[in-house]
């Protein structure tokens, strides 16, 4: 096994972790620069970011950078695909964060691929993109945090060349709003979406979480699959989770019940 480079970069209000062959240090530096540019351009916490200026009408969309226009178009597409449960204006003002982080990590992983890396994993604060096989030569193993016990895992998904995005209340409370009511959705602790593209997976995870339970059970999108943990500790997943095309193995949720209450 080659020497691995592991780097954790504080950016975009979270930490982005890289796991890549140590030969690609320069590409990691490029990817980190890209992420800081995304932060400066899309942050809703920086008054001078392009998105903040767009939000208060100081600039129009057609005068924004190509990347901003690309993100706005993708957000519109996600809103149409999810019956409005994904919304870049769920809180009343422009906030494309539900898509931007996954999109930015997807592109950071692509920077490493372009540089020649064929095996890497980039984790943007819980949104994960795996490329190729693991450094062991087998499937990447991605744990999904148990929202009832953040130090433990609820399930593990395995595969190659796939994305895993999770939306939930475990880390930042009830910050995801149902765009149709303006209130936090009910009935779910977390939703995990797997699929080929992390930007889409991130947007879908936000949307399915915003649907709440049991509406989330009716969601589907070609190539993507979802699994969720309900407020009472139960679990559900779409039939194709994990989609066999990019995942070969799954371990069932570890939450077991006895006598009607979660045992963990």
């Amino acid at each position: 096994m080659m020497v691995r480079l592991r780097r954790a970069e504080h950016v975009m209000g979270t930490v982005v972790s890289f796991d890549v062959d140590a030969a690609f240090g320069t590409a990691v530096a490029d990817a980190v620069r890209w992420l800081h540019w995304v932060d400066a351009t899309f942050s809703t916490f920086r008054a001078d970011s392009e998105v903040s200026r767009l939000s208060r009408g100081a600039v129009t969309a057609d005068r924004c950078s190509a990347h901003v226009r690309e993100v706005l178009a993708a957000c519109s597409g996600l809103a149409a695909q999810t019956g409005g449960y994904f919304s870049a204006t769920a809180g009343g003002s422009l906030d494309p964060s539900g898509y931007v982080k996954g999109w930015a990590i997807e592109r950071a992983a692509a920077i490493l691929t372009t540089a020649g890396s064929s095996s890497h994993c980039v984790n943007g604060g819980g949104d994960v993109r795996c490329t190729g096989a693991s450094p062991r030569g087998d499937d990447w193993r991605i744990g999904v945090a148990n929202p009832l016990d953040p130090g433990a895992l609820a399930l593990t998904v395995c595969g190659r060349d796939f994305a895993v995005a999770t939306s939930g209340i475990a880390e930042r409370g009830r910050h995801v709003l149902d765009p149709h009511t303006g209130r936090p959705p009910e009935g779910l602790l977390s939703v995990t979406v797997t699929g080929p593209d992390l930007g889409q997976a991130d947007g879908y995870a936000t949307a399915v979480f915003a649907m709440g339970y049991p509406r989330a059970l009716g969601w589907s999108a070609e190539g993507y699959a979802a699994s969720g943990i309900t407020a009472d500790g139960g679990t559900w997943r779409t039939e194709d989770f994990p989609a066999a095309r990019y995942q070969n193995e799954t371990i069932e949720p570890q939450l077991t019940r006895r006598g009607g209450r979660p045992i963990l």
Binding site: V15, A145, G151, E171
Partner: protein, 142 residues
């Protein structure tokens, strides 16, 4: 499979150590139930098993607090769940053991296996939340 048996044994040994095991040699080996099959037997409360999973019952252990029996759910040679089939529940002390000690031990059994992952997906953590995360342990070479 040997690893699983060892883990099961370890879990039961841990429970017994916790309860103050009083010497008792069970007469039969562990019972094994195949996933989703109807299994007539001593198991009284049984959650539906995932496809391909097996439930392995530990032996009933007679402790100073009463009989104890645990069951582990095994999938792909990994423990994916632990159930308590029988536990003491009569005195205040026993109640404490049942509600606190058992779930804690079960959590530790499962968490010990959590190390075999490359990354962790979860609700987006803050920079401060990252410090406590399993991902930060992985980044540090855990």
């Amino acid at each position: 499979m040997r690893r699983v048996i060892l883990a099961v044994t370890g879990t039961i040994a841990g429970l017994l150590a916790l309860l103050g095991f009083r010497s008792h040699v069970p007469s039969s080996g562990p019972a094994v139930a195949e996933g989703a099959a109807a299994t007539p037997g001593p198991v009284t409360s049984q959650a539906a098993l995932p496809a391909g999973a097996r439930a392995v019952d530990g032996n009933v252990a007679d402790t100073v607090y009463g009989p104890v029996q645990v069951q582990v759910v095994v999938l792909d040679e990994k423990i994916t769940g632990v159930n308590i089939l029988e536990q003491p529940s009569s005195t205040v002390h026993d109640l404490q053991l049942g509600q606190v000690a058992f779930p804690k031990l079960i959590s530790e059994t499962l968490a010990a296996q959590s190390a075999h992952v490359d990354a962790v997906s979860g609700a987006s953590y803050t920079s401060a939340g990252y410090i406590k995360s399993l991902q930060s342990a992985l980044d540090n070479g855990a």
